[in-house]
Amino acid sequence: MTSATATRVRTVEGAIAFTDLSGFTEFCAIKGDEAAVELITMNEQILRAEIGRRGRIVKNLGDGFLLFFGDPCDAVQAALALQDTFEEASVSGDFPLWVRIGIHFGAPVRHGRDLVGHDVNVAARIVDLAAPGEVLVSEACTGKMSRAIPGVSFEEVGPVIMKGIPEAITLYRAMRA
């Protein structure tokens, strides 16, 4: 007699965002570990302040974060607010807060407090294509937005085929209008 243990998979629908602090390794090498800690602390403080209650920090990746938002509009608004604050901090200080942000919408699987699955992988691929200071959003995410976001527009970046992802994904750049 065999017994099978069914693994119950719990998914949660929403916007998955990755942030990535560009050049962190080089910054550490030039400025030293103390300055590097100051940089990632500043990155985290800004992020926590801007995310607020709109979303949650799923995971700290060292020089980046995995974030989750129930509402894709909140994800885009938070991401643009983050970029505005990072830009101000970079201009006024000595720290290059060059952060790339990629957002995708899907139904990742809960794994404790973590999120895993195909949609998380897609979001991770999107951030790879974003430029510092840029917010790239998948068509799956823009398609789920229930309302227009005042003062925000989206520009198509073009078709993107990503390693390991079978279908082409259309990406948009979220911008202040």
């Binding site: 050049g23 080089e26 060059w98 430029a131 840029e134 390693k163």
Partner: protein, 216 residues
């Protein structure tokens, strides 16, 4: 000899590949020709897009001068020869080479190099480990690379923002245009030799690379 397709009014060409090399040639013609001839080009329902796909078969496509083109590839090189309208191209690990554009260009790669000829509109070029070379960009330019070098010529009809992590940045400014230059590097060298003024702004920043703003 490839297979020829008429172009619906105002349609743009969209090419999707995995590992195939894509070469698109803009020339004096009124239709689109694809080689090898067994490849199909399908029109979208609204007629705005002519789309073709290939996993590994290399494609050569001939289009009219000035056509808008978008290409997405994983590892294949993307080469656009001639003068196009607007261009959007991405390749994860392939190089992307664009001839000239009348309109905007948005080029992305992760590990490939990016080369653009004469861009008549705005240009965005973004790669992680490749070089960015743009002969001349008339309007706004945003270029980002991590370890590659950036070499761009600018017309100064729009602002310029270039970032590199460790690569060298060289911006050459058209004669007669006087930029306000904001150049910053943590450990590299800065040279500001272009005549300065308030015609437009150049923001060039690197973490460990050198930054040069020179006259063309």
């Amino acid at each position: 000899m490839g297979t020829r397709y008429p172009i619906p009014q105002g349609a743009r060409l969209k090419v999707l590949t995995v590992s195939a090399r894509v070469r698109v040639i803009a020339e004096d013609r009124s239709d689109v020709e694809i080689d090898p001839p067994d490849r199909y080009i399908e029109n979208s329902d609204d007629g705005h897009v002519m789309e073709t796909k290939s996993k590994s078969t290399n494609l050569e496509i001939r289009v009219p001068t000035g056509m808008n083109v978008s290409v997405g590839s994983v590892s294949g090189h993307v080469e656009l020869v001639g003068r196009f309208g607007s261009v959007k191209a991405s390749s994860v690990s392939g190089h992307v080479t664009i001839g000239d554009t009348n309109g905007d260009a948005d080029i992305r790669s992760i590990s490939g190099h990016i080369e653009v000829g004469d861009c008549g509109g705005c240009c965005r070029a973004n790669t992680k480990s490749g070089h960015i070379i743009a002969s001349h960009v008339a309007h706004e330019l945003k270029g980002n690379t991590m370890s590659g070098n950036v070499e761009v010529g600018v017309g100064g009809q729009g602002d310029v923002e270039v970032k590199s992590i460790s690569g060298r940045i060289t911006v050459r400014v058209d004669q007669g245009r006087k930029p306000h230059i904001r150049a910053k590097t943590l450990s590299g060298r800065v040279r500001r030799e272009a005549e300065q003024g308030d015609d437009f702004e150049i923001k060039a920043s690197s973490i460990s690379g050198s930054v040069e703003v020179l006259p063309r």
